[in-house]
């Protein structure tokens, strides 16, 4: 009985545990789906420049337009930047989507930190709605000196089966 209970709880907790492990060890390109705190007194390391490239993928047959407004930028560790991702709902109906980030190389994953991101919550789109969605991020100066390039990739999922009862998060989102 105890064993069955343990097995149930273990399976039930599998996803949260896995996410914690991934975040801690930088597995799987995960950098966490929650906000990091930006320390304004952080020393910016001007001696290094890291090129950050943005890519997007639509999951399955999702009819969305989803592109970064700039393909890449150069950033010094410790410096905070803002990028927008344009998206347009072309499905012909209202839809809730969820963007899932992934970072390569995985050794840089836990050093790329986002203070605000449209990926932290689900995003609601009216039929045909267009929006620019923001990401504020910085690279922690603790990142290895071997890291010269980082790719931040977002995959956009149809989350209509999994709508959460949270307030529509539109902070920083520019509706077009």
């Amino acid at each position: 009985m105890c064993g069955v209970f343990f097995m149930f709880v273990f399976c039930y907790m599998m996803v949260p545990l896995f996410n914690i492990m991934c975040k801690q060890f930088g597995l799987n390109g995960k950098s966490g789906a929650s906000a990091s705190v930006f320390d304004p007194h952080m020393q910016v390391d001007y001696s290094r420049t890291i090129k950050v490239t943005f890519t997007t993928t639509l999951h399955g047959a999702l009819k969305f337009k989803f592109i970064p407004l700039q393909r890449h930028l150069e950033i010094h560790p410790g410096e905070r930047k803002l990028v927008y991702f344009f998206s347009e709902n072309q499905t012909g109906r209202e839809l809730t989507v969820q963007a899932v980030p992934s970072i390569t190389p995985s050794d840089a994953a836990r050093f790329l930190k986002k203070t605000e991101c449209f990926c932290f919550t689900q995003q609601y789109f009216f039929k045909g709605e267009k929006a620019d969605m923001p990401v504020y991020f910085f690279i922690d100066p603790g990142v290895s000196r071997d890291i010269k390039e980082v790719t931040l990739s977002y995959t956009l999922f149809d989350a209509s089966g999994f709508v959460k009862g949270q307030a529509r998060y539109t902070k920083g989102r520019i509706d077009l």
């Binding site: 399976c11 599998m14 789906a33 089966g161």
Partner: protein, 533 residues
């Protein structure tokens, strides 16, 4: 229990008249370890041919580029079912059958410790596989996501038959867990007086270790398929990123089961080889203690290397390095085993009966499979080899010339003991040489196909791969038809009415308790524990 035994003796009841029940009831209700062993072995033999036909259909399709026999959907179903049935329906039941027949006779026990559980763990299997195979005859595709059933192929995109597949995996898991429990309890509690741990035959040792592996990982597999079921029908998202889960989590859970599983498939075979080689080399096994420790070490290391199946899923360098070195570390205990087997042969007076031929074939070809495994363990080369035919070549070398050859060797070795009939040595040799030629012709070119870039699990390929694929297909058919000789030999021994000619010891150099019994052994053996010197 001791009361019951005493009572029986007082009233003059002897267990000699407890013969088998007549007719089909004998097999349905049997709690006799020999009957259940026979059932397991025949079940495995039937599944071997069912799954073998699927393999030949796969090879026929790959004889030429373009469509030969199967369209891509059916090709995917064939690769999936071939893998699932060979792993869960052939190798595992065959090893369990050998365990049932041999462990009680080897440790001097009258039967398995939990005979009714034993009956149940066998009879779950035919139902599980009927359920699985029935999906090929229902509307809609059978499972078509590969034997590894990665999410989301098996969750979001899985056909309706996936639920049948999930339930059949649950049943197989329950069967394996009960069989493993039974074996552990038997070995711990029912050894004859004097059968100390370090006197146990290595087959018993390796099954003890295997049983612990089964107990540890079968619940993980059950949990894994249950999570799939939840994702498919109960609106969870363990493996669905849209709802906050992660498909990579599936791979971690699956391979945490999957890697120990490959040792479940091979360790009993190591035990078989460790019993056969000393018999035909007429020398005691070299380094018995080290063989025991190496078996246990392989099992322990097997738990901490699962991510070497997932090098390209985005692991940090440190994790890749760790899993690479840990994987290569397994070569140490495996190397101890191979060297000890070779040392057992050294200066022995060797004869080449069929069990010995298969054991030697295992020794050479399993080592080749081990080396290609080492190549795959290297992260940089794995980036190239992954998901190519090189992987297919590797795991068929360790599973066909590894596990399967040990099972065939075991059957030839103990068949005269089980049935009392000696098989034909000439036919045995034909079977061995055709199997070796067929097997190498099938799987050796696959290494080169993989290195040249042919991906696995595809029904079609570019023109430049044609020659090697045709060799593979010819080899597969030679191998497949050679197994009909094996079928004939087994059936002839099992049903022959001729005079039973096998002696008790059968083989000149055979040592161990099972060879002190008559051939075939009586229905009940060792009701009075033997004395182990």
């Amino acid at each position: 229990m001791s009361n019951a035994i005493a009572h029986e003796h007082e009233t003059g009841h002897h267990d000699d008249h407890h013969g088998p029940e007549p007719g089909i009831k004998r097999w349905l209700f049997t709690t006799n370890h020999k009957d259940i062993g026979t059932l397991y072995l025949f079940f495995s033999l039937i599944m071997f041919f069912v799954s073998g036909v699927m393999a030949l259909m796969i090879r026929a399709e790959l004889f030429e580029p373009g469509k030969v026999l199967l369209d891509p959907e059916h090709f995917n179903q064939m690769t999936t079912m071939h893998g699932l049935i060979m792993v869960f329906g052939v190798i595992m039941p065959a090893m369990a059958g050998l365990a049932n027949w041999l462990i009680p006779m080897m440790i001097g026990a009258p039967d398995m410790a939990l005979p009714r559980l034993n009956n149940w763990s066998f009879w779950l299997l035919p139902f599980a596989f009927t359920l699985l195979i029935s999906t090929m005859f229902t509307g809609g595709p059978a499972p078509d996501f590969g034997w590894t059933f990665y999410a989301p192929l098996s969750t979001i995109y899985g056909p309706n038959s996936t639920d049948f597949f999930i339930f059949s995996i649950h049943m197989m898991g329950a069967s394996s867990i009960m069989a493993a429990l039974n074996i552990i309890v038997t070995i711990f509690n029912m050894r004859a007086p004097g059968m100390t741990w370090m006197k146990m035959p290595l087959f018993v040792w390796s099954w003890l270790v295997t049983a612990f592996l089964l107990l540890a990982v079968m619940p993980v597999l059950a949990g894994c398929v249950t999570m799939m079921l939840m994702d498919r029908h109960f609106h969870t998202s363990f493996f669905n990123a849209a709802g906050g889960g992660d498909p990579i989590l599936f791979q971690h859970v699956f391979w945490f089961f999957g890697h120990p599983e490959v040792y479940i498939l091979i360790l009993p075979g190591f035990g078989v080889i460790s019993d056969i080689l000393p018999t035909f080399a007429r020398k005691p096994l070299f380094g018995y203690r080290f063989m025991v420790y190496a078996t246990a070490l392989i099992a322990i290391l097997g738990f901490i290397v699962w991510m070497h199946h997932m090098f390209t899923t985005g692991a940090p360098i440190a994790a890749q390095l760790y899993f690479m070195y840990a994987t290569m570390l397994i070569a140490v205990p495996t190397g101890i085993k191979v060297f000890n087997w070779v040392a057992t042969l050294f200066k022995g007076s060797i004869t080449f009966e069929t069990p010995m031929l298969f054991a030697l074939g295992f020794l050479v070809m399993f080592t080749i499979g081990g080396f290609s495994g080492l190549m795959l363990a290297l992260v940089p080369s794995d980036y190239q080899y992954r998901d190519s035919y090189f992987v297919v070549a590797h795991f068929h070398y360790v599973l066909v010339s590894g596990s399967l050859f040990t099972i065939i060797a075991a059957v030839y070795y103990w068949l005269p003991k089980w049935t009392g009939h000696m098989y034909s040595e000439t036919l045995g040799r034909w079977h061995f040489w055709l199997s070796v030629i067929g097997m190498n012709l099938t799987f050796l070119p696959m290494h080169f196909l993989g290195l040249a870039g042919m991906p696995r699990r595809i029904p079609d390929y570019p023109l430049q791969y044609t020659d090697f694929n045709q060799l593979c297909t010819v080899g597969a058919f030679i191998f497949g038809f050679a197994q009909l000789i094996f079928l004939y030999i087994v059936l002839k021994a099992a049903w022959s009415k001729a005079k039973k000619t096998a002696t008790d010891q059968v083989w000149e150099g055979a040592q161990g308790l099972e060879w002190t019994l008559s051939s075939p052994p009586p229905y009940h053996t060792f009701e009075t524990p033997p004395v182990v010197p």
